[in-house]
């Protein structure tokens, strides 16, 4: 069966259960994972942009190409406007999704070419 993906079972769920979580106490304390206040540009790109804009996806145009420094402001304005307003099929992204601080960091990283080799799918198998 050469074409069936076989998965190692090292983390298959245990049937014995283990300690049951008391939700009442859990909910009154802390969450397991919270989104940090401001994500790094590469993380925003990976989580949101790369799914469509990475070269191997080709759903949207490539956006990581370095721009000449003289065009950074104009290009930045274009990106900011596109992210916040959307453009044709591109959805608009609200500050609740990509904060102003994250967007400014992302713009700087994009125009300067910092993300030129950003992976399309970090964390995948």
């Amino acid at each position: 069966m050469p074409h069936t993906t076989t998965v190692l079972s090292r983390h298959l769920p245990s049937l014995t259960g283990g300690a049951l979580l008391l939700l009442g106490s859990l909910l009154s304390t802390t969450a397991l994972a919270e989104t940090p206040e401001a994500r790094e540009p590469a993380e925003v790109y990976r989580q949101v942009c790369a799914h469509c804009h990475a070269p191997d996806k080709a759903v949207g145009p490539e956006i990581t190409i370095t721009f000449p420094e003289a065009a950074w402001e104009a290009r930045g304005n274009y990106i900011r406007n596109t992210v916040r307003h959307g453009r044709a099929a591109m959805p608009a992204f609200r500050a609740a999704k990509i904060s102003d601080a994250e967007l400014e960091g992302l713009i700087q990283a994009l125009v300067s070419g910092e993300l030129d080799d950003a992976p399309a799918q970090g964390g995948e198998e």
Binding site: M1, P2, H3, T4, T5, T6, V7, S9, R10, H11, L12, P13, S14, T16, G17, G18, L20, L21, L22, L23, G24, S25, L26, L27, A31, L32, A33, E34, T35, Q47, V48, H51, C52, K57, A58, V59, G60, R84, H85, G86, R87, A88, A89, M90, P91, A92, F93, R94, A95, A96, K97, Q121, G123, E124
Partner: protein, 516 residues
């Protein structure tokens, strides 16, 4: 100073609105209340064929806690301010992050994005509405849990709570999302908080494992509705199987849809094929990576001759069935033989998996990712098919019977053809039902084409209803019309519940056609 007239909630005076905004700022802080036009711009982008002027919010509120949501609804009751609730706001083609009507205040739950629990033993999660599939996926990867998600096509940027509440679907064996929901925390319109199922028992350990609780089961009341604001939701996660085999079956003739469905149905009901299978038409399969104008530049419906050229060039069938087997390698071998035998009987099917399927092109790679719950937005390539950013999902339900599929396909192609649009469609096969999902793609930059798309969608709703086919979900522009197709007695019940639970009508007025 702007001279643009201020957008106000319907029936609310400027003074009352200002008083409400001041109260909202006390509750949320200044940065949790958005009123400037540049802040509200992302809440106005729509893809459906509605008038932009009908979907402009007056403000947006960004709570981070259930207590803040309670404070918001109490304030809304006092000043009769209507709010429209969104979570991740990526219900693209269904209304996105825009309000149901101009003037409503957006209640944007995206900042409530805590993953409260993932239990790898009983395979459950408890989430806030702002959590995205990508966020949950990353968390599970980081923890090393062998659990799979079931994202819809917008996967990474959408979220499990919002999608489940809109009764969305995915592509794994957990594809019917509401079936795998378990327990909610809901803020009611009066500001009270209720936990459904076992959640009412203090310190209950079974909130996320036993759906029904005691007495009437009410979770469904908070889906596709405006009876409360869900602030926490439990869901079941699929344990990663030891083995997985995605495959594709191609058929070449338009009439073959009948055979496909009738062969598939018993395999699906018996869970030989356990996942939400898709039967994808040529134009959908090609549309994720091919541009229409490369084959046809006319403004009318793409002709048969061009469809045949696409099939030949891309190696795509008229109908392309994507499905998968899950389990141990031994189970998969047994079930594979059954699948081969069933689909091989007529000699029409081409069955492929592994390298043969990967080399065949089309959507196999991204479909394989979605059927195992990976993050993938390749399907958005459909938006490049015609271009212009217009998209509406027309999604009538049918029985999983070939005769109904043939009837629906012919009716859809006839109406779409009349208005000059393409049949870009797939069937998503549930246990006994199918969602016939048609992406009505149009150029939203062209007002004439947008009006034509609007008229086409309206006719599709009416003509399908005349033959007994109703929609499982629709966009905000057509909620009233679709509600009408389900009959007055049901609408009266919806209205009675609305008046009982939300007497001031502050929660998402118009959602699913429900108002006071």
């Amino acid at each position: 100073m702007s001279t643009t007239p201020r957008i106000l909630p319907k029936g609310v005076s400027e003074a009352d609105f200002d008083a409400a905004l001041a109260r909202f700022r006390e509750i949320l802080g200044a940065d949790g209340v958005l009123t400037e036009s540049d802040q509200l711009a992302p809440y106005t982008k729509i893809m459906m064929a509605g008038d932009d002027a009908d979907y402009i919010p007056s403000a947006a509120l960004l709570p981070t806690t259930t207590e803040q949501v309670q404070g918001i609804v109490r304030t809304c009751n006092e000043y009769k301010v209507p709010i429209w609730t969104i979570s991740t706001g990526k219900n693209l083609g269904y209304g996105s992050a825009a309000p149901g009507e101009t003037g409503q205040v957006m209640l944007d739950m995206h900042r409530m994005n805590r993953i409260l629990d993932v239990d790898p033993d009983v395979c459950t999660a408890l989430l806030e509405p702002g959590v995205t599939y990508q966020q949950l996926y990353d968390h599970i990867q980081e923890k090393g849990y062998k659990l799979w998600l079931d994202p819809p096509a917008p996967s990474a940027i959408a979220g499990p709570v919002g999608n489940t509440l809109d009764r969305g679907v995915g592509y794994t064996p957990y594809g019917e999302h509401f079936m795998f929901q378990c327990g909610m925390e809901v803020v009611l319109a009066n500001g009270e908080v209720v936990r459904t199922g076992m959640g009412g028992i203090e310190n209950s350990s079974s909130w996320q494992v036993f759906k029904w609780g005691y007495g009437p089961y009410i979770d469904g009341l908070f889906t596709q509705s405006n009876y409360g604001i869900v602030t926490k939701m439990g869901l079941w996660l699929m344990p990663e199987p030891p083995a997985y085999r995605p495959f594709i079956i191609q058929y070449q003739d338009p009439e073959d849809i009948e055979e496909i469905v009738d062969v598939l149905r018993p395999l699906r009901i018996a869970q030989i094929i356990p996942n939400a299978v898709v039967i994808v038409h040529t134009l959908w399969d090609a549309g994720t990576h091919v541009v229409r104008k490369d084959y046809y530049d006319g403004s009318d419906s793409i002709p048969r001759e061009a469809i045949e050229r696409i099939k030949a060039d891309e190696g795509i069938g008229e109908w392309n069935v994507y499905a998968a087997l899950y389990g141990t390698p031994e189970q998969i071998e047994v079930n594979w033989k059954i699948v081969e035998q069933a689909f091989g009987a007529s000699g029409k099917a081409k069955i492929m998996y592994g390298e043969e399927a990967e080399q065949r092109g089309g959507g196999f790679e991204y479909r394989s990712a979605l059927m195992k719950g990976d993050m993938n937005l390749q399907e958005f390539g459909l938006y490049n098919w015609r271009g212009g950013g217009g998209s509406m999902w027309f999604a009538p339900v049918s029985q999983a019977k070939g005769s109904e599929t043939k009837d629906q396909t012919e009716l859809a192609q006839q109406i779409l053809g009349k208005y000059g649009f393409d049949y870009v469609a797939e069937y998503i096969v549930g246990w006994r039902d199918m969602h016939h999902v048609i992406d009505l793609l149009y150029n939203r930059q062209d007002p004439e084409e947008t009006q034509r798309a609007h008229d086409c969608f309206a006719e599709l709703i009416d003509e399908f209803a005349k033959r007994g086919y109703g929609l499982y979900r629709t966009n905000t522009e057509f909620m009233e019309q679709v509600a009408g197709t389900f009959g007055e007695p049901l609408r009266e019940v919806h209205k009675t519940l609305k008046n009982a639970l939300d007497p001031n009508g502050i929660l998402s007025p118009g959602k699913s056609g429900i108002r006071q």
